[in-house]
């Protein structure tokens, strides 16, 4: 199948400069981006399959000698294109804070405990239908220095490849009905309310495992439509 990647779809993304998010002020380009047609260099992309992922890399609760503290959860869903088709064989990488809201990163020094049984990194490859699944611990909210009493809503960072280099996506998955949403400049950097809703997972009772783990569903929609003659115009 041949894909096209309409630039209009990028309107869902935040603008580079979002002044409420202070770190964007000196790191967003001032000059307009230069439009260009996609060439073969943009229409192709790295292909990484199961050889990149080890057995168990999608279970963040079993990477150490003991079990991590916190609420065990399942996060699953499909990687899809803009037509809704599953994107197979796509690498999905995740990283996150522990249940106390503390990252293992050396630069996170806020006074919440590290968990010796939790690193917070995982990866998997979507299957033939685009389906992926992780087992992890629900991350905590955490404070940051953006403004007075700033707290990030709980989130899991995701990095996804897809069909080409222009489908590359790094995003964050949030949890339903987080009371911190109205106050978070990163979440609200996405201007459209419907687009913001696409970053929020949904609680999935059907796939919650009794006596074991709550489940959240999160579909990841990447750029790319079928390049049929009808859609080429």
């Amino acid at each position: 199948m041949t894909f096209i990647y309409p630039v209009d779809s990028n309107k869902a993304h935040p603008l580079p400069l979002s002044p409420d998010y202070k770190s964007s002020i000196k790191r967003a380009p001032n000059k307009p981006l230069i439009p260009m047609r996609h060439t073969l260099s943009e229409l192709t992309g790295p292909v990484y399959g199961h050889e990149t992922v080890r057995e168990g890399d999608n279970d963040l609760t079993t990477q150490h000698s003991g079990e991590p503290i916190g609420e065990r959860i399942i996060v699953h869903g499909h990687v899809r294109d803009e037509d809704g088709r599953g994107v197979p064989n796509s690498l999905v990488e995740i990283w996150q804070a522990n249940s106390c809201g503390r990252y293992v990163h050396v630069r996170d020094q806020h006074p919440a405990p590290l968990d010796p049984n939790f690193t917070g990194a995982g990866r998997t490859v979507s299957d033939a239908a685009g389906y992926y699944r992780f087992v992890t611990i629900k991350p905590g909210a955490y404070p940051w220095g953006n403004h007075h009493n700033a707290w990030r809503p709980a989130h899991i960072h995701l990095s996804v490849f897809g069909h080409s280099f222009v489908t590359r996506l790094v995003t964050q998955m949030y949890f339903p009905a987080d009371p911190l949403f109205p106050f978070d400049p990163i979440f609200n950097s996405v201007p459209d309310e419907k687009a913001r809703a696409r970053m929020v997972s949904s609680f999935d009772l059907e796939n919650t495992q009794p006596e074991w783990a709550l489940c959240y569903r999160f579909d990841i929609v990447l750029r790319g439509k079928n390049a049929t003659p009808m859609e080429n115009h």
Partner: protein, 200 residues
């Protein structure tokens, strides 16, 4: 389940944040392994081996210590390691992708081969180039740019460089160091020397 539902749009981007290193570029410093390194080199790869290095700066000219850069490129014959490139088989194990985090002084480097010529949509040759994606704290969406090579005569006729005002083309051109297979290119996220980023 939900397979017939057409999405109402793509998933928006969010910043990679300040804490990606242990997950995406641990390089031995955390209890996690690297899926990728800053090298595309494989034992069977053919072509001129080069190093591309430089620093990343913000709008105040301050080095950016928490950027992640990714490159994607053709092999020395101009072929991509992706079945969507139908023209010919590339080097057997060459992938053409690499990832590098900047260090505390904003330095990055890639070890790769100089790519060959890739056609544009009209079949015209593009000068050898590498596509570069830049991620970082403070960057809500990654930015795309390109790396060209200072010693390539084809730059003058490259259809993408032609879209760029002449005075800004240097921001896309890695400069060869005398006598060494090393090219230097600094990236400026903002300011007078701002790197050209593409809307694609």
């Amino acid at each position: 389940m939900q397979d017939s539902v057409k999405p109402d749009g793509i998933t928006p981007s969010q910043t990679v944040g300040p804490f990606f290193k242990y997950g995406l570029t641990p390089t031995g410093e955390y209890a996690w392994n690297d899926a990728f390194t800053n090298s595309t080199l494989t034992p069977d790869v053919t072509g001129d081996r080069v190093r591309i290095e430089g620093r990343v700066f913000d709008g105040d000219g301050v080095a950016v210590p928490d950027c992640m850069l990714e490159i994607w490129q053709a092999d020395a014959q101009g072929r991509f390691a992706d079945p969507q490139d139908k023209r010919a088989l590339p080097n057997a194990s060459f992938r053409g992708f690499a990832r590098c985090g900047t260090d505390k002084d904003g330095n990055y480097s890639f070890d790769t081969i100089k790519p060959g010529v890739v056609p544009d949509p009209d079949g015209k040759p593009q000068a050898p180039h590498i596509v570069l994606a830049v991620f970082g704290r403070g960057m809500l969406r990654h930015l795309y740019t390109r790396i060209y090579f200072s010693d390539e005569a084809g730059n003058a006729a490259d259809p993408v460089l032609a879209l760029v005002p002449a005075e800004r083309r240097a921001t896309l051109t890695a400069v060869r160091e005398a006598g060494k297979p090393v090219y230097r290119l600094d990236l400026h996220l903002q300011g007078d020397d701002e790197t050209v980023f593409f809307d694609m």
